[in-house]
């Protein structure tokens, strides 16, 4: 059996920060990560608002954080599958890849979030063949082509404007009659002659042969359905927290986000949470780093009390 003082679930900005703090404090720390190290951070081409660093790619920042955590002694296991776990047992227990068992006295959950998908027919089939979730990655495949951007938040409006560098025409399809994006992003898009809008509408199906050829769009007010020929569709409709595995175990809010107190403590003693999987308003690398720090310090304090309690129990029984 592999016992650690702390197990961190997730290796994004919050998890790696917690790993740096705990391992530097000589807390034996294991980071379990189901995806690639860096989380949403590696999805950002340029981070220009991380204090002290004028400009850095999300990949570089994530790599630096990973190396820093490892330098202090944190063990990182990425691209694994947590097949079962028990947060109420003592010690807390995780089974990885169906066979490896890891236990710890304290747990920090930093499972982050992922891009929301439309979940309509054809979406999986045409991913990479006309459907994209990354404008900076795939924009240049749509030089002089006609594309749709789905969404009404900051990412959708900002990326729609940026995609006009490549596309001949960009149509923004949004389900409401107004945008949630900041006014300057909306104004920039409205002033761009290459951008059109289809409001109060949703894509309900992607259609094509070997690649995407058209979409079926439904007006939300009239229910009218029409088809539109299109070369590409970029989807920016926000994020969902990666908390499915904790449903019914940890207290979540209506958006399936983990509820924490000011010390990042969940409703389970010895279990903390930080980063994009918790209930909060702002989702930034800097906020995740701050929450990871608080979670680590709270976890260290818990471990300290836990150790003292264990010693006291030993003294009573000896």
């Amino acid at each position: 059996m592999n016992h650690y003082d702390a197990i961190i679930v997730g290796a994004g900005a919050a998890g790696l920060t917690a790993g740096i703090y705990l391992s530097r404090a000589k807390v034996k720390t294991l980071i379990l990560n189901e995806g690639a190290v860096g989380g949403q951070m590696v999805l950002t081409h340029e981070i220009a608002n991380y204090p002290g660093i004028e400009s850095i790619s999300g990949y570089e920042l994530a790599r630096n954080m990973k190396l820093q955590a490892q330098k202090f002694g944190a063990v990182i296991k990425s691209n694994i599958k947590i097949t079962s776990f028990d947060l109420y047992s003592n010690p807390k227990r995780f089974i990885v890849n169906g066979k490896e068992e890891y236990t710890s006295d304290v747990v920090i959950i930093t499972t982050g979030g992922r891009s929301r998908t439309l979940g309509v027919p054809g979406e999986n089939e045409f991913k990479g063949k006309g459907i994209s979730y990354c404008a900076t990655c795939d924009g240049d495949f749509f030089q002089d082509k006609e594309i749709i951007v789905v969404g009404g938040g900051n990412s959708a409006l900002e990326e729609a404007s940026s995609l006009t560098k490549y596309a001949s025409k960009v149509t923004i399809v949004h389900q409401f009659d107004h945008f949630q994006a900041f006014e300057h992003y909306v104004n920039e898009a409205k002033a761009n002659p290459k951008i059109d809008f289809i409001m109060e509408s949703k894509i309900i199906e992607f259609i094509g042969g070997e690649k995407l050829e058209k979409v079926k769009i439904q007006n939300q007010k009239t229910s009218e359905i029409f088809e539109k020929d299109i070369d590409g569709v970029f989807i920016f409709i926000g994020y969902v927290p990666n908390t499915e595995m904790f449903e019914g175990i940890i207290e979540l809010n209506q958006y399936k986000e983990i509820v924490v107190d000011k010390n990042m403590a969940t409703n389970i003693p010895g279990v903390y949470a930080a980063g994009d999987s918790i209930a909060k308003r702002y989702r930034q690398v800097t906020t995740a780093v701050g929450e990871g720090t608080v979670a680590a310090l709270s976890a260290a304090e818990y471990l300290n009390k836990f150790e003292k309690a264990e010693l006291a129990a030993e003294e009573v029984t000896s």
Binding site: V42, T44, Y59, K127, G128, K129, C134, C137, F141
Partner: protein
């Protein structure tokens, strides 16, 4: 050159040599971008688990990457990375855009064989 720990293919000649010298080859052709990095990371981890497969990367924007970009199997691709799987020099599978570890291992097992993998790891 891509900043990964994989074997880098830098030219058309190196690509041909790699296919000639290895029965099973997986090449990820991309950039250091958000959809590509997770695939490189999975490949780096799989190198030990699949010793009978040669894992390599190639920078999408170098001219010689036409050996991947111009493949008929990649004709309709519009999402990075382009990942191509070769058996005895022939393309057996190609994927576009990000893929999970499960999706990648499922292709490796299907085309390059799980039994071979187990035998090779002994």
């Amino acid at each position: 050159m891509l900043r990964t720990n994989l074997t880098h293919i830098l030219s058309e000649q190196e690509h041909a040599k790699l296919l000639q010298e290895n029965e099973n080859v997986m090449v990820c052709c991309g950039r250091m971008g958000p959809m590509c990095i997770p695939v490189y990371e999975v490949m780096e981890e799989l190198e030990n688990e699949y010793p009978h497969v040669k894992f390599a990367d190639m920078e999408f924007d170098i001219p010689d990457a036409r050996v991947i970009r111009d493949l008929p199997e990649c004709r309709n691709f519009a999402g990075l990375p382009f990942v191509v799987y070769y058996k005895n020099g022939k393309v057996v599978k190609a994927t576009s855009s990000i893929q999970s570890r499960e999706q990648i291992t499922s292709i490796l097992d299907q085309y390059f064989g799980q039994e071979v993998k187990e035998a090779a790891s002994k």
